[in-house]
């Protein structure tokens, strides 16, 4: 909703989080990490200068995909895995809309893997929130493509033999231009990253570690609990050295191409020896993405990679404008009567 500011311009109404809450009862399990994600999205939307009718939430299937029902905006709860495809249609048909995708590890990376990678490659302006709880929740507890190898689940009583994806690596490999990871239990940080994603031109991909307290409770406990978090989480900040630890006493340095965790306490290394994070460096992003799979390394949280590349929908518009400029606005009658034509006259 907007009101005139009396100067001929238009000011966007100031919303509150409540303006984005729909009248539907939220039906996730009590204690689910999804509640926090929903709340953070509702909190940051008022900070954007976007009227609420311009927000569209598209989802697939899964617990996370109920998200659109709870947002007082436009939304489509689609079919399994295809949210990025449908969202791509919405965004390219009307680039003026802010299009969000709510998806999970099964929806985005298993059944919808193809659409995720191609959205990232095209750099269509979608804000993809990938809730990763490393389990299939809605179908009651089978392993997902991010479940750790050997995990015992309903469909793998003797442990999985399926090697998991690293979603950040996948997004980087798929030419993503904004790739981040967040925690459901760090709402302030999640808000910051969501805001940046919302303002990013092109596809923004956020992997959100989300606790499924029914089927995979505590999957990210090390990263979210007060006593273990500092030694296990590395917050990425552009232009800042990679420091972590309870007393900011650890850091990451490069020994040639090999990253090392070093102590800042034993006098061998100082903060000046550490890697200064550059979110525009693809090399750094790829290297940091491997940390979550390396024993003894902290899990990076934050924006891994953020660069500008032309968004698909802008190129689409530009191409149409260019052709129209060159050929003029198409005249239907002329088009129908084009090609090799001949006239049959009445006798």
């Amino acid at each position: 909703m907007s009101t005139s500011n009396g100067n001929g311009g238009v000011t966007v109404k100031k919303y509150t989080a409540k303006d984005f809450q729909s009248d539907q009862d939220v039906r996730w399990c009590p204690g689910c990490g999804d509640y926090s994600i929903l709340a953070q999205v509702q909190r940051i939307l008022p900070e954007l200068d976007t009227p609420k009718e311009k927000h569209v939430f598209i989802s697939g299937i899964g617990c996370s995909s109920r998200f659109p029902y709870y947002m007082d905006a436009y939304g489509v709860h689609g079919i399994h895995g295809r949210a990025p495809a449908m969202a791509s249609g919405v965004k390219t048909a009307n680039p003026d809309l802010t299009v969000w995708v709510a998806s999970g590890d099964g929806d985005a990376l298993s059944i919808g893997g193809n659409h995720i990678i191609h959205s990232l490659r095209r750099n269509i302006g979608l804000k993809i929130l990938m809730f990763n709880n490393r389990i299939y929740g809605l179908t009651k507890g089978q392993y997902s493509p991010t479940s750790e190898l050997g995990k015992k689940t309903k469909s793998t009583p003797f442990g999985t033999i399926d090697y998991p994806f690293n979603p950040v690596q996948l997004a980087l490999g798929a030419e993503g231009t904004f790739v981040a990871r967040c925690l459901d239990r760090d709402p302030k940080h999640l808000q910051q990253v969501l805001l940046r994603a919302a303002k990013h031109k092109g596809t923004a991909f956020i992997e959100i570690y989300q606790n499924c307290n029914v089927f995979n409770d505590g999957a990210f406990l090390l990263l979210t609990e007060k006593d273990t978090k500092p030694d296990n989480v590395l917050y990425l900040e552009h232009g800042k050295p990679l420091v972590f630890g309870k007393e900011n006493d650890k850091g990451i340095r490069l020994n040639g191409f090999t990253p090392e965790v070093v102590s800042l306490k034993d006098g061998k290394f100082s903060i000046n020896d550490l890697v200064v994070y550059d979110e525009k460096s693809f090399d750094m992003a790829v290297l940091l993405a491997t940390f979550s799979d390396r024993a003894g390394f902290p899990t990076p949280i934050g924006v891994f990679f953020a660069v500008e590349r032309k968004a698909y929908e802008d190129m689409m518009t530009a191409q149409i404008q260019e052709v129209t400029k060159k050929r003029g606005t198409g005249d239907l009658d002329q088009l129908l009567k084009s090609g090799n034509t001949w006239v049959v006259s009445a006798n």
């Binding site: 436009y74 495809a85 249609g89 048909a93 191609h118 050929r327 009658d333 088009l335 001949w342 049959v344």
Partner: protein, 611 residues
Amino acid sequence: MSKTIETLDDVVIRFAGDSGDGMQLTGMQFTNTTAMVGNDLSTLPDYPAEIRAPAGTLFGVSSFQLHFSSWDILTPGDHPDVLVAMNPAALKVHLKDLKKGGVIIANIDSFDDKNLNLAGYQASPLTDNSLGNYQVIEVPITKLTLNALQGSGLSQKEMVRCKNFFALGLMYWMYSRPLETTEEWIKEKFGKEPQIAEANDKALKAGYYYGESTEAFAARFEVKPAQLKPGLYRNITGNEATALGVVAAAHKAGIPLYYASYPITPASEILHNLSAYKNFNVKTYQAEDEIAAAGAAVGASYAGNLAVTGTSGPGAALKSETISLAVMLELPLVIVDVQRGGPSTGLPTKTEQSDLLFVTYGRHGEAPAPVIAAATPADCFQMAYEAARIAIKYMTPVYLLTDGYLGNGSEPWLVTDAKDLPPIPVHFRTDPENFHPYSRNENNVRPWALPGTPGLEHRIGGLEKANITGNVSYDPDNHDFMVHLRAEKVKGIEKDIPLQEVYGEQSGDLLVVSWGGTFGAVRSTVERMRKNGYKISHAHLRYLNPFPRNLGDVLKNFKTIFVPEINLGQLSKLLRTEFLIPVVQYNKVRGLPIRSAELEQAIKDALGGVK
């Protein structure tokens, strides 16, 4: 030297050669010229699924058949009068179709041991008297082309590639066609390669003058212009017509056209055509797969575009789940299925009518969707337009069935004037007062409410909708109500489509009922038989779900209902189910149009010897 000119009513020519010989191009050029001369015409391109199959092999043969006449014709013809065979394999593959006494123009330069061997000939058919029933004209096409192009500066290989233009020039002479249309085309096509342009032009003329000067041709022929309905014509393929039909519909509806597709034979030309129409408010999106194409189309429809996705059988199968979603969301969407031979990859470049039951029923749940079908290449324009009209008016996915024969085949199209196209009103909901996403108008149609409209924020999705509010509902009675409502909405479209017409008497012994691309073959057969005294009639269906509301009554008036199809009886099944009547089937599934002569025999059999 002038030769006598004999006038013919109609001629069927088939150009056949290696996939790399340019037979499709040659056929299209002959078609365009013939259209400009004012003949009626109908074409049948037939090519292998392989892009460049090994030269000289039987499976690498590509052909283009063209039927042209001085009267109104409906089919590309069963049996060619003339076969242009660029090599032994082409002769071997196509000889069986040639009319007895027909003309074979053989490029003798390619009848060497190697090519004869590849074609499976023990001895040259040109010398072993096996072609005694035909008039064989041996022409050293390759050699004459090379002679004509001496000094052109081209390599031997490049010169040899011009031989199709020699053959084309020769046929132009034989059938008294002007060279200008092709000359202009060459100029335009090879504008950046003047050497190649000049060589092709020379080869074309050399072929023409060869006809004039050689003793091999005793006579030449002419086919007078057809008495078509007055007006402006252009030659058009079904895929071109489909593309123009949806552009016209979007234009008339005043909304952008959004075409999302994944390349697939034989539907890709629709994507090619539309991608060139960017200045007509057309967006094309080549998706990562068939499912994504359907998904993007649904998204674009949600955002207020006329969304169309085109494909063929395998792709239609992949899109099925998304079309079910579109049924639940009640959003307009046109799905074009250019049918080809199945199952599986089947015969990608051949025609078939075997997706009728699939598009009618091939969705999970009770998911009704209208199905319409084009009858001729040019009819694709009108039916594409109609598919869009129904989709928008009834907020529903609509299937348009065409097929490989219609898509690639061509005929003269009496061009529709843009101003004569019926209006396609679009009402986007803007008023927030009393807005409910699943409220209905008198046609049971819900409002189209676009994201971006202030005050109409709402959520839709694949879960069952509560009537009126559109909220998620698991209520058993609501589900029952909605399942019935969706079915009634689609059934109700019968009020909005033309009544079924019957060609011939409105009652009698036998009614031939056909649908889709068999129109030409069936109508011309019925016409001929009626001239010969058979009391039969013909009803060709363009609306298959729902059927025209008078169809039951039409069928009741005939003793025998005879249904020819290029499948195992899919329309037959639908007619039996819907009207509880017996139906006589005629099914030939050869990947090719139905042959008129065979159909005639089958109808006679069904009549049991009664005229």
